[in-house]
Amino acid sequence: MITTSAREQHASPRGRALLTWFAGSTTAGPLVALLVAIAVFALTTDTFFTVDNGSLIVQQVLVTGTLAIGQTLVILTAGIDLANAAIMVLGTLVIARLAGEGGVPALAALAVGIVLCTALGGVSGVLVTRLKLPPFIVTLGMLSVLTATSQLYASGQSFPVTSPLLTWLGERRYLFGQIELTVGMGVMVLLTAGIWFALTQTSWGRNVYAVGDDEEATRLSGVNTKRVILSVYLLAGFVYAIAAWQALGRIPNADPNAFQLGNLESITAVVIGGTSLFGGRGSIPGTILGALVVTVLANGLTQAGIDSLYQQVATGILVIVAVAVDRLVRGRAT
């Protein structure tokens, strides 16, 4: 681009390198936002910058963060998943009810939940690829169907969970006797690393980005794009099952009314994390950072004594700023 080269001639080499890095890396924006937020709250409150609070923030990010990992996969293919939290909630209900009043062994109940969530992701995938319906419409329909299904299945009840396996991800461990960690954090790290590896180091991952960038061109280059997209929805469904397990670890009670805005919260994390809603651009670490930014804002603003409605205002502004900055930077530097 002419404007870019003209600009670069004036910029110092270091500034140019920074600009290139900022533009090329989808994680730079959310990382800066996160560091700024942490710095502000650390300087303005006494209670924010502590080990305990750090642990708390990570615990609070697990469920939405996991949902957002699945959401990232779908959005990378230029799709969107409005049904992710609904799939997860149905998963928690089935697991908790089978293991509770159903008397099924916890491991079997968990396995059924994982298969169910994966299959439901697959249903969305089949509808998107075979019937060629827009993902927005498919998952909007799934959201409606699954929300009602959860209500019918639960018939107004919620289901407490007592099994050690099902609440295992909420179990606490202490590092150096000081730092509170939960098993769920370990699972989150493994999941993040695994999917990050698959996206960046395998041909499957390259195909996911390529499909999101330009499906038609990718198909013409010999890739079975339908199979790639279907695999993404199946994997996302599996990730939502892990989110269900995380949710039971955090609150050992499956509630059909929980996480009603989980879909939008996960999209918020993905967008703040620098993933483009048009597909083909974004990353899992960015999404984790995005989810952390939202959680840090809520946590920090609470400790700064600011009304919780302003936390929603701040999050909303951040979403708009994130997309605007993304546009601006890409428009100038690419």
Partner: protein, 337 residues
């Protein structure tokens, strides 16, 4: 009003958008069908939702009372809490079915007034259950919990349970702008002897009556004020969330957590010591009174009027002198859901 589903209101915006795409999905659900025939008395019931255990209990109670009295109940509901259009449609449908009376728990205290006026113009008795209309005299009578009094009971108990300790209070509110939220909140402060500006109030958060949100909010508030010893909660899911956050710091000071609702889950939580006390309301009584009033009016022409408080009862296993309460054994016999 039960606030288990108040949080749904925000989702309503999302669902409203959904409805534009899927108009068929948003009709109210029916149980019972067909127009009434002959002299049989038919009563319509319109609840906020079909899924909330509170309204399920209310509906089931209305059903059994109707069977006992040999009248027919047509139970309809909005699709979600806040679904005013669904309730308006339901009222219109009931008018078309020539019911003698309509019992309604209005999702919107004002939005449903037009439909109610049309029904009353046809001589149908309309009674508000659980939640009053605005103005209250838009219906013939109201049978509901006095939410202010329920809040006062919670506040009085929590203050008394603190005994000589200096109060450090957190408020876990429901949804801003809701009438019931406001009544319970103000009632709690009054019962406790606080005002909005009292320095004893260390923080407040909006939870939408949702357990997950309440837990997160409580964790964050506790980070700022570890010395908290008293918590107001809008409903029992919020109290359960607060209790989970408190359980994560076992070495902390003993905290008095109060709540309102009286569901069986909530009473069991009080019994197990997760939170300290709850104020029970009686949806089943509202339904029984409502059905009885319609039958009485149809048979004898006696019209109910005004506000009838269906009562509330403080439930705790840690009674304090001067604050009347029942234990959880009584609570479990009388709980709903």
């Amino acid at each position: 009003m039960c606030l288990n589903k108040v949080r749904v209101r925000s989702t309503a915006l999302v669902l409203a958008a959904t409805c534009l795409a899927m108009t068929a999905a948003c009709t109210s659900e029916k149980s019972g069908s067909g127009a009434t025939s002959g002299d049989e008395i038919a009563i319509g019931l319109v609840t906020k939702t079909n899924s909330n255990p509170y309204f399920v209990a209310l509906r089931e109670s209305a059903q059994s009372e109707s069977e006992r009295r040999g009248v027919k109940l047509i139970a309809l509901a909005g699709k979600f809490d806040g679904d005013n259009q669904g309730q308006v449609d339901a009222v219109n449908n009931l008018v078309a079915q020539n019911v003698k009376g309509i019992l309604i728990t209005p999702s919107s205290s004002q939005g449903v007034l037009g439909a109610i006026a049309a029904a009353r113009a046809k001589g149908i008795l309309v009674i508000a259950l659980d939640t009053a209309t605005d103005p209250a005299d838009a219906v013939d009578a109201t049978f509901a919990t006095d939410n202010k009094a329920a809040g006062v009971a919670q506040g009085t108990y929590v203050r008394a349970a603190l005994d000589s300790r200096t109060p450090n209070v957190l408020l876990l509110d429901g949804t801003p702008g809701s009438t019931v939220d406001d009544q319970r909140h103000r009632g709690f402060l009054e019962g406790f002897g606080l005002t909005e500006e009292s320095p004893e109030i260390k923080g407040a958060a909006v939870t939408n009556g949702d357990q997950t949100k309440a837990q997160t909010a409580m964790e964050n508030l506790l980070q700022r004020d570890p010395g908290v010893n008293a918590v107001y909660t809008i409903n029992e899911p919020a109290a359960a969330g607060a209790a989970k956050a408190l359980a994560a710091r076992p070495d902390g000071e003993d905290v008095v957590v109060g709540s309102i609702d009286g569901s069986c889950t909530g009473v069991r939580n009080v019994k197990d010591g997760r939170f300290t006390a709850t104020v029970m309301q009686f949806p089943e009584k509202m339904a029984q009174l409502g059905v009885a009033a319609v039958v009485e009016h149809a048979e004898n022409g006696v019209k109910p009027s005004g506000f009838t408080d269906t009562g509330s009862q403080l439930i705790t296993d840690k009674p304090v002198p001067g604050v009347p309460s029942k234990d959880t054994a009584w609570g479990l016999r009388n709980c709903w859901g």
